[in-house]
């Protein structure tokens, strides 16, 4: 194997890039405006090409008592329960993909979010002002930042998720970035996975200060301390209001927690963060399921010394814990109000040199040195007990995925692809030989009825090897082991499409051959592997030239252009069988409607020559189906003369 370039640690550089842009300071400025006075719960503004939309931290009482918000914090609801009914499924893009997973793993469970926060967002979204301002921003900007401090941050996350779903559904290229400051957690691990799958992790940046207790609260079961939380939330809100220029000097009754209570709360949260952290590092799935809340997207941890960006959820949890434990009961409460200070600090830090402290030993390896610098930026000094685990945590965060560079991974994948290409060629060869065979079954039915010959066995092996290859590709993509634009590279889009068109019919054949449809239901709804759906999307979203060729085909396509064609044939065959035995008139009408729909669809496909010629082989399932239908209709004709007459494939009333 090729000697690999020595790896580098760059989590700190991502943070300095972000800090060198005006994004953080502009976002924070607008957040303070929203916190101080936002009767609607949000404010928006445009700066150049960038639209900013900030949610207030103080809008939770618009729909509920704050204490209720925390007493119900363990109450998560499925994200797809959201919506105003009547087909309003604002998050359908996100919730759909969690239903099936690659590698045939078990269902991971529904995407769940905090019930109160979801309600808050849906409430805000329903107002006319929201719709007006949001659509003004969407139409007037090239990119949109959605931001919020504290609880406003979670609302911002939900809003960004909603916007990403919406933009995907209308194929818009508008960019969205969600920047939150000290935001509580929002949802479960499935949410985090779903966001990774959509490759939206890079659209979220949660700024979390070293000691802030707020982002860590939901790791703990808070039912037992609702009273303290009530005080805490009030204290924060009053402070936010008091610190705004408009209210400066005004007196607000600030209720403080007693020292003892603070200490209790600190150790309580600290303890639970540790628990969650240790479970999150474990491999065991079942245990993870017990953790209700899970971070997603990037976390930008900031301290007095600098900032680092982490995106691996398990590392984020651990880093939260390690930084928190270096704090104390009172700074963990006040830090929640100090984001203005942190933002100012990291926005000017880029001017200063970043070196080792005097007298520190500088490691010789680039990687170790980078880790040590990142540790320094996270504000944990070498002497502290948290230093060693924090260093390990940073290494895990980068090492887990970047032991090899993504481009090299892609290059190696290309080599592996060239090794599996012959398998594909053999399947093509098989397809051609079925076309020539005297049985005239076509390759779908040949494969479905295959015997135990060496050739049949080989084709099936090839099918499985290819599936394994493509599942690996998708797994690497989801784990961010491949370049960010991988799924847009034409080589991979084209190859995956070709693979899909050629091999999915065999997968369908295998599904029905082994009778899976009887236990699991039909292929289309219950059996289709996720990879094919992903490849569908890649193909849909590929860049196509302005003029798509629309002229008619002169001969049948090399491969049937709808790779699910055979699955539809199978369902139609079942309908046809049922028609003969069905006696319920309503059900019968429904069956006929389905049959007629399919017939129209298939006839159009065949007429446009969008199918490969094996579809029309004399003994193929499709040919048989057409024959069956014709027979059935003529029988019906004899029995019930009033039955619509059938002529030349058309129905006459």
């Amino acid at each position: 194997m090729e000697a690999e370039a020595s790896p580098f640690e760059s989590s700190e550089l991502v943070a300095s890039l972000l800090a060198s842009t005006p994004l953080l300071s502009e976002s924070w400025r607008l957040c303070s405006v929203a916190n101080a006075a936002a009767p609607l719960g949000f404010v928006s503004e445009r700066i150049g090409d960038v639209g900013y939309f900030a949610f207030s931290a103080c809008s939770i009482q618009m729909i509920t008592e704050e204490s209720e918000y925390y007493s119900t914090c363990r109450n998560l609801v499925p994200l797809d329960s959201a919506g105003a009914g009547d087909g309003d499924r604002p998050f359908s893009v996100l919730t759909k993909s969690s239903n099936s997973s690659i590698n045939g793993e078990e269902d991971e469970g529904a995407v769940m979010v905090h019930a109160g926060l979801l309600n808050l967002f849906l409430f805000l979204r329903s107002s006319q002002a929201f719709k007006d301002q949001m659509s003004a921003l969407i139409n007037g900007s090239k990119s949109i930042v959605i931001t919020g401090h504290s609880i406003g941050g979670t609302t911002a996350s939900l809003c960004a998720l909603w916007l990403l779903c919406y933009l995907q559904s209308v194929s818009s290229t508008l960019s969205v970035l969600c920047i939150t400051f000290g935001s509580p957690l929002l949802g479960n691990e499935s949410l985090s996975r779903a966001i990774l799958r959509e490759r939206w992790g890079g659209n979220f940046c949660h700024v979390v200060s070293k000691y802030d207790i707020m982002p860590r609260l939901l790791f703990a079961p808070l039912e037992s301390c609702t009273r303290q939380l009530h005080f805490l939330l009030q204290y924060w809100q009053m402070s936010m209001l008091a610190s705004s220029p408009g209210n400066f000097g005004q007196y607000f009754p600030v209720l403080q927690l007693g020292e003892e209570e603070k200490a209790h709360l600190f150790s309580f949260i600290s303890h639970h963060n540790l628990l969650v952290s240790s479970v999150a590092q474990a491999e065991a799935r079942e245990e993870k399921a017990n953790i209700l809340y899970w971070p997603f997207g990037n976390y930008m941890f900031c301290s007095q010394e600098g900032a680092i960006c982490l995106e691996n959820a398990a590392s984020v949890i651990e880093m939260m814990h390690l930084m928190f434990m270096t704090g104390n009961p009172s700074c963990c409460i006040d830090d929640h109000l100090k984001y203005g200070h942190y933002v100012g600090k990291i926005s000017s830090q880029f001017l200063n040199k970043k070196s080792f402290l005097q007298g520190e030993v500088i490691p010789e390896s680039s990687y170790e040195a980078g880790v040590a610098l990142a540790l320094q930026s996270s504000g944990i000094s070498k002497q502290e007990p948290a230093a060693r685990p924090a260093e390990d945590c940073l290494k895990k965060a980068s090492g887990m995925r970047h032991m090899r560079t993504p481009s090299l991974n892609a290059a190696n994948l290309a080599i592996r692809l060239s090794k599996v290409v012959p398998y594909r060629a053999q399947i093509e060869w098989y397809m051609a030989s079925c076309d020539k065979s005297d049985e005239q079954l076509g390759y779908y039915d040949s494969f479905k009825q295959r015997g135990s010959s060496k050739r049949d066995h080989k084709v099936n092996m090839n099918r499985l090897l290819l599936a394994g290859f493509w599942n690996d590709v998708l797994r690497m993509l989801e784990n961010n082991e491949l370049p960010h634009d991988f799924h847009k590279r034409s080589k991979w889009v084209n190859t995956s499409q070709f693979y899909k068109l050629l091999v999915e019919p065999l997968d369908i054949a295998e599904y029905y051959r082994s009778g899976m449809h009887r236990t699991k239901g039909h292929y289309l709804k219950h059996g289709r592997e996720r990879r094919f759906e992903i490849f569908d999307r890649w193909w849909r979203e590929r860049k196509v030239g302005p003029e798509e060729n629309t002229s008619m085909r002169s001969k049948f396509a090399g491969l049937t252009q709808d790779s699910c064609f055979w699955a539809k044939v199978e369902e139609a065959t079942e309908w046809l069988a049922h028609v003969r035995s069905e006696s319920d008139a309503r059900k019968l009408a429904l069956l006929w409607e389905n049959i007629n729909n399919f017939e129209r669809y298939a006839t159009r496909l065949v007429d446009c020559k969008e199918v490969s010629k094996d579809v029309l082989a004399k003994n193929s399932s499709y040919s048989k189906w057409v024959e069956d239908l014709r027979e059935l209709k003529s029988q019906m004709q004899q029995i019930h003369p009033q039955f619509p007459r059938f002529r030349d494939g058309e129905l006459f009333p």
């Binding site: 000697a3 370039a5 020595s6 790896p7 580098f8 640690e9 760059s10 700190e12 550089l13 991502v14 300095s16 890039l17 972000l18 060198s20 842009t21 994004l23 990119s143 960019s175 970035l177 939206w200 890079g202 940046c205 990037n298 960006c309 995106e311 880029f350 001017l351 200063n352 040199k353 070196s355 500088i362 490691p363 680039s366 040195a369 610098l373 995925r401 560079t405 993504p406 481009s407 892609a410 290059a411 290309a414 692809l417 060239s418 290409v421 012959p422 060629a425 060869w429 370049p483 960010h484 080589k491 060729n549 002229s551 085909r553 002169s554 001969k555 049948f556 396509a557 090399g558 491969l559």
Partner: protein, 608 residues
């Protein structure tokens, strides 16, 4: 330390460098567009004075004053090499500097040849090398003049040129750097930069962020030491330029280090980063007499940022001021002392010590973070070389595969021709050929992917051995791809092969050959005549009208290629697709001409 002399290492003697600087200084402010000095017996100097208004630095409506180098007719002709070949990305340069150079090039007294052209010709006739030089924006024009000269004369080998700049702003983007390396011209450019000089960093900031201050700063430069209230603007100017430099340098460093965080992509949609990049050799002056020599452009970019950072917040005011003053301060660094003795060559960047080591890099104020970024730049270059070795090692496998296909071609040469045999896919042999084709395609696709991402050394597309292998591959295998395409009627899924279906693995090598032989675009399409045959045949057999000119061009082309031995005679075999077209073409046959004669000959040969 290197025992090589400065002259050997950078190809220009200390004396000429000093002379360049003296002349640049003398012509810093001048009404002339350029000045010629012939007082030296070793070289002719063409000196460009600086220009000192904002609109002479930023013109046009782009954020960074950039424009494509081929945006005007004259510049399209003058800079044909300033692009990447396969990807066909065109270089971006500063529009204002390009316009300034246009004035130079077209300046003429009495509607004769331009004065500039005359001087250049004169110098070449005198067999003296030309040194293009200038300070500040004059240096930027000198860069364009040098590229222009190399484009025009380097092939004919009649003259040599050097470009020596002092405190020059950046001129072009990554593609300029890439193209100069590919053409092996990079070594002709030597840029001197004072550690704190802000000017080489100015173009890393969008005009909108610095407009006001820039006007004052440029004015200050020409005020020649007169008192000017710098205090009020220097800190803002410094901070804004450095903020943008920091964003660009951290983004570049993340890429160098292979970071895949998707946040990086998101951020580039929110803030526009400057397109400009360094190229050529940089010599940084530390300010205490030492000189640091670097020729890795990525490392230079990092150094531009890291050498200007603060050690402490309270240095801000002083640093901001010295950043502006340094631009006028080259004299003490360059004239007063020996350059030879003080220059330090920084190479093997990937092994750079991380701790301060008492070397000249310390004098540039390089932090540990900065040293890590330089290491990453060195590592990337090394990785590119490794990628290159990796595909070089595949050559054997490729030749093996091509040999197999060559045999396949020969086998079919007497029967139906390998194009049609492959298209029919009747035999196991045809299947094997297909697997060979796919394996070769896989290797080539991988090379093309690397080129698309610029993951191979810049020189790759100028390497003769690869251009030849690419041409051979294209001529032998592309017909099979076309056969496969039309066999599966993919033209009806996606469109004609040439417009919709032609893979990059054939487009790229064709462009390489065209570039190498200095030919026009799309003139080396011999490997895809089968696609044209298929398209015409489809037209003809659908009863459509076949364009006469198209038919003629094809037939003449085929005739020429057969004669040149580029295409095989099997094209003319009895059952071939070409013959089918031949029959369909009817009256369009060019019986009397080229191909007609060949055809008759061929038929007679096969009968006898």
């Amino acid at each position: 330390m290197d025992s090589e002399t400065l002259g050997k290492k950078i190809g220009i003697s200390e004396e000429l460098i000093k002379k360049s600087y003296t002349l640049s200084l003398e012509n810093q402010v001048s009404n002339e567009l350029f000045h010629v000095d012939k007082s030296s017996s070793d070289a002719v100097f063409i000196v460009f004075p600086g220009s000192w208004t904002v609109k002479e630095w930023f013109s046009g409506d782009q954020a960074f004053g950039e424009t494509k180098i081929n945006s005007k007719d004259w510049s399209k002709k003058a800079f044909p090499s300033m692009r990447s070949i396969g990807n066909d990305d065109v270089a971006i340069v500063n529009q204002a500097f390009l316009e300034r150079f246009e004035l130079v090039l077209k300046d003429s007294k009495d509607s004769k040849d331009s004065k500039f052209l005359e001087e250049v010709t004169l110098a070449m006739n005198g067999n003296k090398p030309i040194i293009f030089t200038g300070h500040s924006s004059g240096g930027a024009v000198a860069v364009l003049a040098t590229i222009w000269f190399l484009e025009k004369y380097s092939k004919s080998n009649t003259g040599t040129a050097k470009c020596v700049t002092f405190g020059s702003p950046l001129v072009g983007d990554y593609i300029v750097s890439h193209a100069l390396k590919r053409e092996k011209w990079s070594k002709y450019f030597i840029h001197f930069v004072m550690r704190y000089d802000i000017v080489p960093r100015i173009l890393l900031a969008p005009l909108s962020s610095i407009q006001q201050e820039l006007e004052h700063v440029l004015h200050y430069f020409t005020a020649n030491g007169h008192h000017y209230p710098l205090e009020s603007i220097a800190p803002d100017f410094y901070t804004n330029v450095m903020r943008n430099t920091s964003a660009l340098a951290s983004h570049a460093a993340c890429k160098l280090m292979g970071n895949t965080n998707l946040l990086l992509e998101t951020l580039t949609n929110f803030t526009k980063l400057s397109p400009y990049r360094p190229f050529g050799t940089y010599i940084f002056c530390t300010g205490n007499g030492k000189l640091v020599h670097l020729d890795n452009p990525e490392a230079v970019l990092q150094l531009l940022f890291f050498s200007c950072q603060l050690s402490h917040e309270n240095e801000m005011e002083a640093t901001a001021r010295s950043c502006i003053n340094a631009h006028l301060d080259y004299k003490t660094e360059l004239l007063g002392r020996s350059l030879e003795e003080n220059v330090v060559y920084v190479d093997r960047l990937e092994e750079l010590p991380l701790a301060s080591d008492g070397s000249a890099l310390d004098d540039l104020g390089l932090s540990t973070r900065g040293r890590l970024c330089l290491r990453a730049a060195g590592e990337l270059e090394k990785q590119k070389q490794r990628n290159r070795q990796q595909i070089d090692r595949k050559k054997a496998e490729m030749e093996e595969g091509m040999k197999g296909l060559e045999e396949y071609k020969t086998f079919n040469a007497q029967k139906v021709g390998y194009y049609d045999a492959f298209k029919k896919q009747n035999e196991k042999r045809d299947f094997d050929a297909n697997v060979r084709r796919l394996v070769l395609a896989g290797i080539w696709d991988e090379i093309i992917e690397m080129l698309k991402r610029y993951d191979l050394p810049d020189e790759f597309e100028g390497d003769d051995s690869w251009i030849n292998l690419g041409t051979e591959f294209r001529r032998l295998v592309e017909p099979l791809d076309i056969a496969n395409y039309y066999r599966h009627a993919k033209n009806e899924d996606t469109g004609a092969y040439m417009t919709k279906g032609r893979p990059r693995r054939y487009r790229y090598p064709q462009r390489w050959l065209e570039k190498k032989e200095g030919r026009e675009r799309d003139t080396c399409g011999e490997s895809c005549f089968w696609a044209e045959v298929e398209e015409l045949l489809k037209l003809a057999s659908n009863g459509g009208k076949v364009d006469e000119a198209r038919a003629k061009e094809l037939q003449e082309g085929v005739a020429k290629w057969i004669k040149d031995g580029v295409a095989g005679k099997d094209v003319l075999l009895g059952d071939s697709t070409f013959l089918k077209l031949w029959e369909e073409l009817g009256r369009l046959k060019l019986q009397q001409e080229c191909i007609g004669a060949l055809m008759t000959n061929f038929t007679q040969l096969s009968i006898s």
